[in-house]
């Protein structure tokens, strides 16, 4: 993990379906910082995360990652980032372990099992994900945050369909990550218990 990573967004103009979501948006994320994106439904929170992750492209503006301009080619940012969107990206026809092996092929069995124990998924290792509940499937997707060493986390509504225990676990993990110099950008409508984020508000 590079501890010197930083993300700078300058003068970003997001348009979705002929509608301006934000214009001239600028903010930066320093190592060890949690940024929470606030805004009403439809204000463009998810679009902003998708743009940073490289799913969408901005109309105008610049995205700098660790001082490098990644607006046109997001590869170097993507190799150092995890993006979790609304649909979590776990395959229903693979088991919990197979899904995680797909994302993190070099992880050892013991680490995998200890993470799954923490997340209460250890009894479900060999169960197909399509048979799990929404909250359990989300825990499988979130397990990647424990298993990979990426610096930048882009989490779109990470607390959705998690129970109280799950929320606490995830907040603890975010805090650990930030203490090690990681960068976290998240959207949520929930109050954060233990994290004090730096807020960016999208006005509609």
């Amino acid at each position: 993990m590079q501890s010197s990573a930083s993300l700078t967004i300058s003068d970003l103009w997001i348009e979705r379906g002929e509608r301006d979501l934000c214009k001239g948006l600028s903010f930066s994320v320093q190592p060890g910082e949690v940024v929470r994106i606030l805004g009403e439904n439809g204000a463009g929170k998810s679009s902003l995360l998708k743009i940073i992750a490289g799913v969408l492209s901005p109309l105008e503006g610049k995205i700098l990652y660790s001082g490098e301009d990644v607006t046109l080619d997001r590869t170097s940012l993507q190799q150092d980032a995890i993006y979790l969107g609304h649909s979590v990206g776990v395959k229903g026809l693979l088991t919990v372990a197979e899904n995680l092996r797909w994302y993190c092929p070099d992880i050892s069995i013991s680490i995998l099992y200890s993470v799954l124990t923490q997340l209460d998924l250890i009894d479900l290792v060999d169960v197909l994900v399509k048979k799990l509940s929404a909250g359990q499937a989300r825990r499988v997707a979130l397990a990647r945050l424990w298993l990979t060493k990426k610096t930048l986390w882009l989490l779109d509504e990470p607390f959705a369909s998690l129970d109280v225990g799950g929320v606490a676990l995830l907040e603890e993990r975010i805090q650990q990550h930030v203490l090690l110099g990681g960068l976290v950008i998240l959207t949520t409508h929930q109050d954060l218990m233990s994290i004090t984020p730096h807020d960016v508000v999208l006005l509609s």
């Binding site: 993507q78 990206g89 776990v90 693979l94 092996r101 994302y103």
Partner: protein, 220 residues
């Protein structure tokens, strides 16, 4: 995510969905079997028509398999994860198509000796038919994925995919059946095989890049 872990998981998913592959194969056999029953079962009709029958059935079976290649990945969000993985998207698509091709075409090739016997295809024509299938079907997959990617976000996209890509399938069908017919009448066929190979190579070069662009446009 690495290229190899992606490739392995693709095979795992295909293995878990083996009934879909089996359906396509069964469909292929049924279509081929209907011709002798429905039109004429005499060798005079079947022997010259055999290559055409096999190829039409193969095209339909492949269309069925290719049309939904991205559907599940789109719905569960793993297509989005491929886009943001930091790996080369065209290469990932190439691997996905390769896995799908192996899983659909190999069973087809295994069953063809039986079907060509049923259609009175002479043995010289049989080997050319096998060669046209090996050389020609990759281009069907590569052309098909572009259409599948274009319509992945549309609910009722199956018919649209067929309308979009069927015209591009015609040259492949024409050259393959011509090659088999040429052997049956003792003419050289290597030029026609070379054309098929050229089409497959051309689509191999173009399709992954075009599909990657289309996938990026479809996921948002």
């Amino acid at each position: 995510m690495t290229y190899s872990s992606f490739f392995v998981s693709e095979f795992l998913v295909l293995w878990r969905r083996k009934q879909d592959v089996f359906n396509a194969l069964l469909f292929f056999i049924i279509v081929v079997a209907l011709f002798p029953i429905g039109i004429n079962s005499s060798p005079d009709f079947l022997a010259p028509a055999a290559a055409g029958i096999v190829w039409c059935a193969a095209v339909l079976a492949i269309l069925m398999a290719v049309e939904s290649i991205f559907k599940e990945d789109y719905l569960d969000g793993s297509l989005e994860q491929l886009v943001v993985s930091g790996l080369s998207l065209p290469l990932l698509i190439l691997l996905k198509v390769a896995a799908q091709w192996l899983v659909v075409v190999l069973p087809l090739l295994v069953i063809i000796p039986l079907l060509s016997e049923m259609l009175y295809l002479p043995s010289s024509g049989f080997w050319v038919l096998i060669m046209t299938l090996i050389v020609g079907t990759p281009s069907l997959f590569f052309i098909g994925v572009i259409g599948a990617a274009l319509t992945v976000s549309i609910k009722q996209g199956a018919m649209l995919v067929m309308l979009l890509i069927l015209p591009f399938y015609l040259p492949v069908i024409i050259f393959s059946t011509l090659a088999v017919k040429a052997t049956q009448s003792g003419l050289p066929y290597s030029g026609l095989l070379a054309m098929l190979l050229a089409m497959s190579l051309l689509s191999l070069v173009i399709s992954p890049f075009m599909t990657a662009i289309v996938v990026k446009a479809s996921v948002n």
